[in-house]
């Protein structure tokens, strides 16, 4: 890089401008620095000026250890292994220079982490008809798409592998090279393209890269340590103007991703939704939930209008203001969640005798049964009353936000929050039913009003070495994704054990590839799964807990913390019972003793539940 930081002749009026020789020296020095080092140097010199000292003279130099040379990452995208073998060879060569480096398969790399890289060498093959290699699509979609982050800390070079008998020769390498530059990264060397006989050009490229690594190491050895010498910290959330977003005043979060994560043939539709918190100042910890203010899905609003024969543009008054019925139904009123108070209000106001009877009955069971799988519209349909637009507005409750366990760690995904949404859609009473928030989140695009709902009662142990047992079924696994991301990002070395259950292995193994990676990396110590519908007999997480009882108890004795998340009606009590069994067995004592044991765990915050 050639840099000129000072003009040869100082502009007039600058007091005591440096002489020509000093300018030459400085330019020479600056020419050896890269952009980050330049920034650091400017700060260093400014610091010296401010303290009135002169480097190396009156004051002792600031504690100057040799700054470590930046670590290099060699990323590869391969399908048939050529790129991997080049990357691995280069890795050995760089490490041979005593410089820290790693080689990473882009198929295994979480793209959001790219922000943390400062020196990256890419070895990238093109496949299909000008497409990225299998498995790396997610990375390229991320970087080439709208989510491509600012990369001004990154210096990079690209080696593109291809076959010139294809039309889109080395297309993936070309796209990546151009895109990285566009995202603000600094190109260390022009892209080299290799045809099927890639050995010679790739070898030359490797030598070129090695020379650069070597040169940089030499400089780093020579240069004093500085705060910014080794990569910038991941850019964190920067509150704008100090505004605090809350439940009342939610942050409009942009939807970055809305990805179905149940496979073909699944009986469910589960989404992985990624929202941007950039600029919100919001922060969260694993275990917290995200509050979401839904807009009622249009199909749901239409059902009300059709059933009651009302018009969307009918004027109504709500909170002393006038609006249209359509607006109110979509954004202000609760159309699904059914509570006693709504039923009571409806029954009283319109004198609905059968409902009143049900409400007044001594025995609560029939009423609860009635509510169990009904939504508001079912009550209106079961007990029809001629309602005006204003009646309806006055009768319905106010819309309430929904909570979703956060599935990400901020540490691992700066500026983002991830949630796992089970889309509620079912047919009952000859009508299609839509969950409000889950369908809203499943419809792509736009922004979503959100806030953070902290949950200090669902927290990873402070002790990074404490073992953790996580038990989740269905979307209940969401916070455990956050836990593991967090433990990985913080380098927590406690053991982790995940129990997961769902219906079918093939389609419902939520986040399967991520758990597999954690298993490979050793973060996830044990992993047990139960798929209830893959065999004749149903198997659930509680069955696996019992099967592994001896080890579960052993972990508890070693100080393990247990977390349970997901279905409150069946799973949580069944898991509780299984834990009691396992503990009673482990203790060799009765159920009371086990109850005491579990209660103590609870009191010492080692048995935490987040169930819904």
């Amino acid at each position: 890089m050639s840099v000129t930081i000072l003009k040869k002749s100082p502009s007039p009026g600058v007091p005591q401008g440096p002489d020509a020789r000093l300018v030459a020296d400085l330019n020479d020095f600056a020419g050896r620095l890269d952009q980050q080092q330049l920034w650091w140097a400017s700060g260093y010199l400014a610091g010296l000026a401010a303290s009135g000292a002169q480097a190396g003279k009156a004051q002792p130099a600031p504690a100057a250890e040799a700054s470590p040379a930046p670590a290099w990452t060699i990323f590869y995208a391969t399908e048939t292994g050529n790129s991997r073998s080049i990357a691995e060879e280069l890795l050995g060569q760089i490490q041979g220079l005593g410089v820290e480096a790693r080689a990473v398969d882009l198929a295994d790399f979480r793209p959001a982490q790219l922000k943390k890289e400062t020196r990256a060498l890419f070895v990238v093959a093109t496949h299909g008809l000008g497409e990225p290699p299998d498995g790396t699509e997610a990375f390229f979609e991320f970087v080439l798409g709208d989510r491509g982050p600012t990369l001004d800390h990154l210096s990079y070079a690209v080696l593109a592998l291809g076959d010139s008998s294809y039309e889109d020769y080395c297309e993936t390498g070309r796209q990546l090279d151009a895109r990285l530059e566009a995202l603000g990264a600094t190109r260390l060397a022009d892209r080299v393209e290799c045809d099927v006989d890639f050995e010679a050009p790739s070898e030359a490229w490797q030598q070129d890269m090695l020379a650069r690594v070597e040169a940089e190491r030499a400089e780093a050895d020579a240069a004093p340590a500085g705060p910014a010498a080794n990569g910038a910290a991941a850019p964190h959330l920067v509150p704008v103007g100090g505004r605090q977003y809350t439940r009342k005043d939610p942050f409009p979060a942009t939807v970055l991703e809305n990805q179905p994560i149940t496979g073909r043939g699944s009986s469910k539709d589960v989404r992985h939704v990624v929202l941007s918190l950039e600029g919100s100042g919001l922060s969260y910890q694993p275990g917290d939930a995200l509050g979401v203010w839904p807009t009622n899905p249009p199909q749901l609003v239409d059902q009300f209008l059709t059933l009651l024969e009302l018009e969307a543009d009918a004027e109504v008054r709500l909170d002393g203001e006038s609006t249209t019925l359509g607006e109110a139904l979509a954004h202000r009123l609760e159309l699904t969640l059914l509570g006693r108070s709504f039923v009571q209000g409806y029954a009283d106001r319109f004198d609905v005798a059968p409902l009143k009877a049900l409400l007044d009955a001594e025995d609560r069971a029939p009423f609860n049964d009635y509510l169990a799988d009904r939504q508001v519209i079912d009550v209106l349909a079961d007990h029809p009353v001629a309602l005006s637009a204003q009646d309806l507005t006055d009768t319905l409750k106010r819309l309430t936000p929904r909570l979703y366990s956060i599935a990400s760690s901020l540490e691992a995904n700066p500026d983002e929050v991830h949630v796992t949404i089970g889309v509620v859609r079912y047919t009952a009473f000859e009508r299609e039913h839509f969950g409000s928030a889950s369908n809203y989140l499943a419809a792509p695009g736009g922004t979503v009003p959100v806030y953070i709902a902290p949950n200090p009662r669902f927290r990873l142990p402070e002790d990074a070495a404490a073992p953790v047992i996580m038990i989740g079924a269905g979307t209940g696994v969401a916070p455990f994704r956050a836990f593991l991301e967090e433990r990985e990002a913080r380098g927590a070395d406690g053991d982790n054990w995940l129990f997961f259950g769902d219906r079918n292995f093939h389609s419902d193994f939520l986040y399967q590839v991520e758990w597999a990676r954690y298993r490979r990396d050793g973060l996830l110590t044990r992993h047990d799964v139960a798929f209830s519908r893959d065999q004749q007999d149903k198997v659930y997480v509680q069955d696996r807990i019992r099967e592994r009882g001896v080890d579960v108890f052993d972990w508890l004795e070693r100080g393990a913390h247990i977390y349970v998340c997901g279905d409150a009606n069946h799973m949580a009590p069944d898991v509780h019972a299984a834990l009691l069994d396992v503990i009673a067995q482990g203790l060799g004592r009765d159920c009371d003793a086990a109850e005491d044991y579990l209660r103590e765990l609870k009191e010492s915050n080692r048995y935490q539940r987040d169930v819904y």
């Binding site: 292994g81 073998s85 299909g128 008809l129 299998d134 498995g135 699509e137 997610a138 076959d163 008998s165 294809y166 099927v196 990805q259 179905p260 994560i261 149940t262 496979g263 073909r264 992985h272 292995f505 093939h506 389609s507 193994f509 939520l510 986040y511 399967q512 590839v513 991520e514 758990w515 597999a516 298993r519 992993h527 799964v529 893959d534």
Partner: protein, 558 residues
């Protein structure tokens, strides 16, 4: 090719050597509930047991986005020398297909069948049930001798019987002896103290797959020159007089790598029927000892023969055999396709060859092959024989049972192929997408479309009923033996093929790469012009492949 730490040999060799006679950690990997796959090293070994890990490539990208592992499942291939099955075996096969393999049986180009889509938790059960029907999958794949092929129909039934007997003997003699198969799949006890031995193979088996076929002239339906060893049955006075022996054939190649190429077997001489097994074993042993174990792309017998020369090879073989092969005997090949419809053999038995589109035995709205064959198996008293071209023969039907077979065949559309034009019936495509991990382009699924478009061209040039061999493969490995076809499309990338022309209909000439990386439109344009010239300028009785070789390709290197 992946390099191994031990740079003398390829990584696969290291896996084999340390596998404890093909055990590896297969049993543990099958029991792992967290993944539908098994580790690569076990995958290498399960091939020897006849099963491959695959994934549904149609949903690979989609599932990656869904954060789900690929839709893994297993392909299982059986080893049935000569392709012969009893109706009872057929019924079990049919049941298994419906229970675990998505209701399909895939007839292959080597006279056996494959199941696709068997999920890991069903794999062992399925393997057990295959064995219960007195079939095996051992050595259907892997670096060993594979299924031994044999022309499934001959006019003289005694010749077929004798040739088949040789095929069986070859298959039995060259079968691996490891107890691993029994232990892993059939819950066999490991015999202790461990006494595994591979008298023929040794602990690292062969450098690469090994294939044998027996052809009964004038039928070269097995493409006898496409295999490591080809036996050509010589009939004299209504009996089997011996074999000509060809060695060093093979199809597979790699795009852009001139060190790899298809090769036709070289006829080395002849042997008696009784010598055939010894000859095959010694040829295989030369390859075991001299084949390339460093570079798998270069590890087939054909490269050993070319690298060391035919004379060296013959010399080595003679010294191992202790006798010299006799002179080549006269024979003539007439055709390398199947013969559809009814045929009667010298013993009076009837045989009905059914055309199976793409080799896929499955129920479709227009043709219920699976159901029809099940019904047929319930009444059939003879046998079923898989052909070398992915078709099926209802063999050994007595004259009085013919009408019953015919009725069923008609009811389920089983012999709808009888009325097809020759270019459709003789066409073949390999499996390719979505299951084949090596496919670069579509083949089986594309074949009907391509034939439809080719049919329009033939029609236009008045060539609709012209016999023509068309073969498509999804990559250059050559599973449908494309390099002997008159027209072959060899996949290069989605929708792109290398166009190979100039084979013939007896399977004794390699075709030539005509143009690379063509789209369908470009292929059809090229063929259109050529077919036009062929229609106008062909010599009397000249086939398309011969015409192209004479006019369009002359001067090009083959």
């Amino acid at each position: 090719m992946t390099r191994s730490a031990d740079s003398d040999v390829s990584a696969v060799e290291v896996v084999k050597r340390s596998s404890d006679f093909l055990r590896g950690t297969i049993a543990q990997s099958l029991a792992d509930p967290l993944t539908g796959s098994i580790p690569e090293s076990d995958g290498t070994l399960t091939k020897f047991h006849g099963t491959y890990l695959q994934d549904d490539r149609d949903v690979r990208a989609e599932r990656a986005r869904q954060k789900l592992e690929p839709a893994y499942s297993f392909m299982i291939r059986a080893r049935i020398s000569g392709g012969v099955l009893s109706p009872q075996q057929w019924l079990l096969l049919d049941q298994l297909a419906r229970d675990h393999a998505g209701g399909a049986i895939r007839a292959t180009t080597r006279q056996t069948f494959q199941f696709h889509g068997v999920v890991k938790r069903d794999l062992k059960k399925t393997m057990q049930r295959i064995n219960e029907m007195m079939l095996t999958t051992l050595a259907a794949c892997g670096d060993v001798n594979r299924n031994v092929m044999c022309t499934p129909l001959a006019e003289i039934s005694a010749v077929h019987a004798a040739a088949l007997e040789t095929a069986d003997a070859l298959s039995d003699r060259l079968l691996p002896q490891t107890g691993a198969y029994h232990e892993i799949w059939l819950d066999g006890e490991r015999v202790t103290p461990v006494r595994d031995e591979e008298p023929v193979y040794g602990p690292t088996y062969l450098p690469r797959k090994f294939k044998i076929a027996v052809a009964i002239p004038p039928w070269n339906d097995v493409d006898v020159f496409a295999h490591d060893i080809g036996f050509i049955a010589i009939e004299r006075e209504g009996g089997l007089a011996g074999f000509n022996v060809a060695a060093g054939g093979g199809m597979g190649a790699t795009h852009g790598d001139p060190a790899t190429y298809p090769r036709l077997g070289t006829v080395l001489g002849s042997c008696s029927v009784g010598q055939a097994v010894a000859v095959a074993e010694q040829i295989m042993c030369v390859q075991r000892d001299y084949g390339d174990r460093r570079e798998r792309k270069h590890a087939r017998l054909k490269y050993t023969v070319d690298d060391r020369g035919v004379d060296w090879f013959k010399g080595e073989l003679t010294s191992r055999l202790g006798f010299e092969l006799g002179p080549e005997m006269a024979y003539e090949f007439r055709h390398n396709g199947d013969r559809f419809g009814w045929q009667q053999d010298s013993a009076g038995a009837w045989h009905l060859t059914l055309f199976i589109p793409g080799g896929r035995i499955v129920d479709r709205p227009d043709r219920q092959l699976l159901t029809g064959l099940r019904e047929l198996a319930r009444v059939h008293k003879g046998e079923f024989r898989f052909t070398p071209n992915q078709n099926l023969i209802v063999a050994g039907v007595a004259g009085q049972d013919k009408p019953a077979v015919e009725t069923l065949a008609q009811r389920y559309g089983l012999d709808a192929g009888a009325s097809l034009e020759p270019f459709r019936r003789d066409a073949m495509a390999c499996v390719a997408l979505p299951t084949c991990g090596l496919a670069m382009a579509e083949a089986e699924r594309y074949l009907p479309d391509f034939l439809g478009r080719l049919g329009e061209l033939l029609e236009r040039h008045g060539l609709r009923d012209e016999p023509l061999s068309v073969r498509i493969t999804g990559c250059p490995n050559g599973c449908a033996r494309p390099y002997v076809a008159e027209i072959a499309l060899v996949g290069k990338a989605p929708g792109r093929y290398n166009l190979m022309l100039g084979g013939n209909r007896v399977g004794d000439r390699l075709n030539t790469l005509y143009r690379e990386n063509l789209s369908e439109t470009q292929i059809l344009e090229t063929l259109d012009g050529m077919l036009g010239r062929f229609a106008g300028r062909r010599q009397d009785g000249e086939g398309f492949g011969d015409f192209v070789a004479r006019t369009e390709l002359s001067g090009r290197a083959a």
